[in-house]
């Protein structure tokens, strides 16, 4: 039985909750005005919790539409965002693929929509477990994308995302992705922040006029998304999205710093988070929940005397090119671990390909090993992660790559196939 409570102001408290519930709490803390959602495993408990909040009177004034498909989810969120409201939704895998057309639409319209992604593998065969191929699939759409490694980070990153997206110099949408089931359905302590503090941290809700330059107001009739000839400003609109995304790197760093100042929790520089990298000669770039366990693997190898370090990639778009170059310069061997596929690309992994491409023509001679693990939610153990690090150490020691690479990439934990 859900009790109806009337607009109780949230005080700072620690709750033991699922990752999905942390996402729902973040939307509530951000005082989102419009939610639209369609159920998909493993995102479902986000929308269930939000239903409790909205129907239970804990989010007064918030409109929650339960639509009939993900395509309609993003379309309705776009409509509400154009009309000048703070919006939220969440989805996973197939749902994100199905809304792909509208994903482009949201970025092209320059809307500050935040979307939580409980990531899962792409079908067929059906797969509902942690794999970031879904959010990677939307990488060229103009959306920012962030990966979370912990439950707290889901809550925190959603708040930081509203801060960045609604910056008037940005006005672009963002995905906040975390591994399906591994984070979405396990419970951990999460600090839900004081509402007053969140209100101070976030920009105010859009006023009656809506966003600057984007509004739906009978007093100021505006047309959105006209057909535009090649000689018009289409190329320039696209260039501006790229220009903005690149400049957004600084905005993300600032938002992260201010977050630390306000709430006392930090996530590296916002774009990446380094772990034991200062004196490391071997490093690994890794993202999502796998990064959490990798911390332990790094610590244990440190105890064995190896100078290993780890870089948690927090943002995939915009890609932290400058930070990655600095990291690569520090070490002799750099592993790049993907939990997503980019078929037919030079490495088969999306992030490893990007890392290699941003090292081009920089004079950096660090050996880079593209790696894959945990595809479709395949378990990656601590022992396995330590072995991954040892493989990198061996490359440093011998100067030779392992002989079991598949088209230049190490697919770790893969079963034997014909």
């Amino acid at each position: 039985m859900i009790s109806k409570t009337n607009n109780i102001i949230q005080k700072r408290e620690t709750k033991i909750i699922k990752g999905n519930v942390a996402a729902a709490y973040a939307a509530k803390s951000a005082r989102v005005q419009m939610i639209s959602a369609y159920p998909i495993t493993p995102q479902t408990t986000v929308v269930e919790k939000l239903s409790e909040f909205v129907d239970g009177g804990e989010m007064p004034g918030t409109q929650y539409i339960k639509v009939e498909s993900e395509h309609s989810v993003m379309a309705s969120v776009i409509g509400a965002s154009i009309a000048g409201t703070r919006t939220f939704t969440a989805t996973s895998g197939q749902g994100l693929f199905y809304m792909n057309e509208m994903i482009h639409w949201a970025a092209g319209t320059r809307l500050p929509i935040v979307t939580a992604i409980a990531s899962r593998g792409a079908a067929p065969p059906w797969n509902i477990w942690a794999d970031f191929s879904d959010v990677i699939n939307a990488r060229d759409t103009g959306w920012m994308s962030a990966f979370c490694a912990t439950h707290q980070e889901i809550y925190d990153e959603i708040l930081m995302s509203y801060k960045v997206c609604e910056d008037y110099d940005v006005l672009l949408p963002k995905f906040v992705a975390y591994g399906g089931f591994i984070l979405s359905h396990t419970s951990k302590p999460v600090i839900i922040e004081d509402q007053d503090l969140v209100d101070q941290y976030l920009p105010p809700l859009p006023d009656e006029k809506g966003w600057p330059q984007i509004f739906l107001d009978p007093e100021r009739p505006m047309m959105h998304g006209n057909l535009i000839m090649p000689s018009g400003f289409y190329s320039e609109f696209r260039m501006k999205i790229q220009d903005t995304l690149m400049k957004t790197k600084d905005k993300i760093k600032i938002a992260s710093k201010e977050f630390e100042k306000t709430f006392g929790r930090s996530y590296g520089n916002g774009l990446i988070e380094e772990f034991n990298m200062d004196d490391a000669d071997v490093g690994i770039i890794i993202y999502g929940d796998l990064a959490l366990q990798m911390e332990q693997a790094v610590e244990e190898l440190r105890e064995e005397g190896y100078k290993v370090g780890m870089v948690k990639l927090r943002h995939y778009r915009p890609f932290p090119t400058e930070d990655i170059r600095k990291i690569a310069k520090k070490v002799e061997v750099l592993g790049v671990m993907d939990r997503a596929t980019a078929f037919g690309s030079p490495t088969g992994g999306p992030v490893s390909g990007d890392v290699l491409s941003c090292l081009y023509d920089t004079g950096i001679t660090t050996k880079v090993l593209p790696m894959m693990a945990g595809i479709g939610g395949r378990e990656v153990t601590l022992v396995q992660q330590k072995e991954e690090l040892k493989t990198l150490i061996k490359i440093k020691e011998t100067g030779e790559l392992p002989n079991n690479l598949i088209h230049g990439t190490l697919w770790d934990g893969i079963l034997e196939v014909k």
Binding site: A83, M223, L227
Partner: protein
């Protein structure tokens, strides 16, 4: 029924302005012009992919002087649902500013309604979203070059049915009836007063409203630009297009179609077909099939009205 004089007095304001790039004799233009006269300035329009995306003006030219969102093909009804939700959220934060009085209108073609947009429309209708959804029906994909849609009538030639369509026109108003929404109406551009009144009525109804307008298309149907009104009128006179309303489940035949309840008052269908090049290959057998379709529609609609009167 309003008189012409009354309508002209209260509807002199124009919202869909001259300078748009509609073809001469465009049925859509008449439909939108009169719809907006009835709805007034507190209206936000969502248009999925259709002729309307183009004819409202290439950027930076814009013909509408009301808020307008161009939307993806399948997303008319869903985007409008979101717009309406935002107006409700704004009405909560900024009460008494008229945000709760906004009309969220969708103007979609028959392809965007009966084919690719039907899922979103059905969803919005089932939720009873507070939107007014309008299908301007020119009976094919005219914007992309006259391809068949599920709203194309039997025997009509299109670029993808070079020998005439083999299937009947999908009856979307009936599908909408199955959703039990508060208001459904059919309109024709040849009856602007009827259209004006129905939009006025729909505007004040809370929930999902659906209006289906027959909007002839000179290049798509193959007739002269000066004959749009005549084509729409012949469709009514032959009994092919029936004007009616369904208010809270109660169906009534509108004035312009009442006369044609009596089959002897209807003009022969061939008079309608023979004026359009798209029907140039209609055989005697096809004519019989089309006539059977008309007779069946009337039979169904009249039996329903009879049943509700009992």
């Amino acid at each position: 029924m309003v008189t012409i004089k009354e309508t002209l007095n209260e509807a002199c304001e124009e919202y869909f302005l001259p300078g748009n790039s509609c073809c001469a004799g465009c049925g859509l233009e008449i439909a939108l012009r009169w719809a907006m006269k009835a709805l007034g300035p507190k209206t936000a329009l969502v248009t999925p992919a259709s002729c309307l995306n183009v004819v409202i003006g290439l950027w930076p030219k814009t013909a509408p002087n009301f808020p307008f969102i161009n939307m993806a093909f399948a997303a008319g009804a869903s985007a409008a649902t979101g717009v309406d939700a935002a107006f409700k959220a704004k009405a909560y934060r900024f009460p008494n500013q008229g945000w709760d009085k906004m009309t969220t209108l969708v103007f979609a073609g028959d392809g965007g309604t009966t084919d690719i947009g039907i899922q979103a429309l059905s969803g919005a209708a089932e939720r009873n979203s507070n939107i007014l959804y309008v299908c301007y029906d020119n009976e094919a994909y005219m914007n992309t070059g006259i391809q068949r849609s599920s709203s194309t009538p039997h025997s009509a030639i299109t670029t993808t049915t070079p020998f005439g369509k083999q299937r009947y026109k999908k009856n979307l108003p009936r599908i909408m009836e199955a959703h039990e929404i508060p208001y459904i109406a059919t309109c024709s551009v040849s009856e602007p007063l009827d259209l004006y009144e129905k939009f006025k009525k729909a505007k004040d109804i809370e929930g999902c409203k659906y209006i289906h307008i027959l909007a002839p298309c000179p290049p798509g149907w193959g007739y002269g630009a000066e004959d749009t009104i005549e084509m729409a009128r012949l469709a009514i006179k032959s009994g092919l297009w029936i004007l009616y309303e369904v208010e809270n489940g109660v169906k009534t035949i509108s004035k312009a179609s009442k006369k044609y309840v009596d089959p002897s008052k209807r003009i022969p269908l061939i008079e309608y077909l023979s004026k359009q090049k798209r029907f140039r290959t209609v055989s005697e057998q096809q004519l019989i099939k089309l006539q059977e379709g008309i007779d069946k529609s009337w039979k169904v609609i009249l039996s329903e009205i009879e049943a509700q009167e009992k």
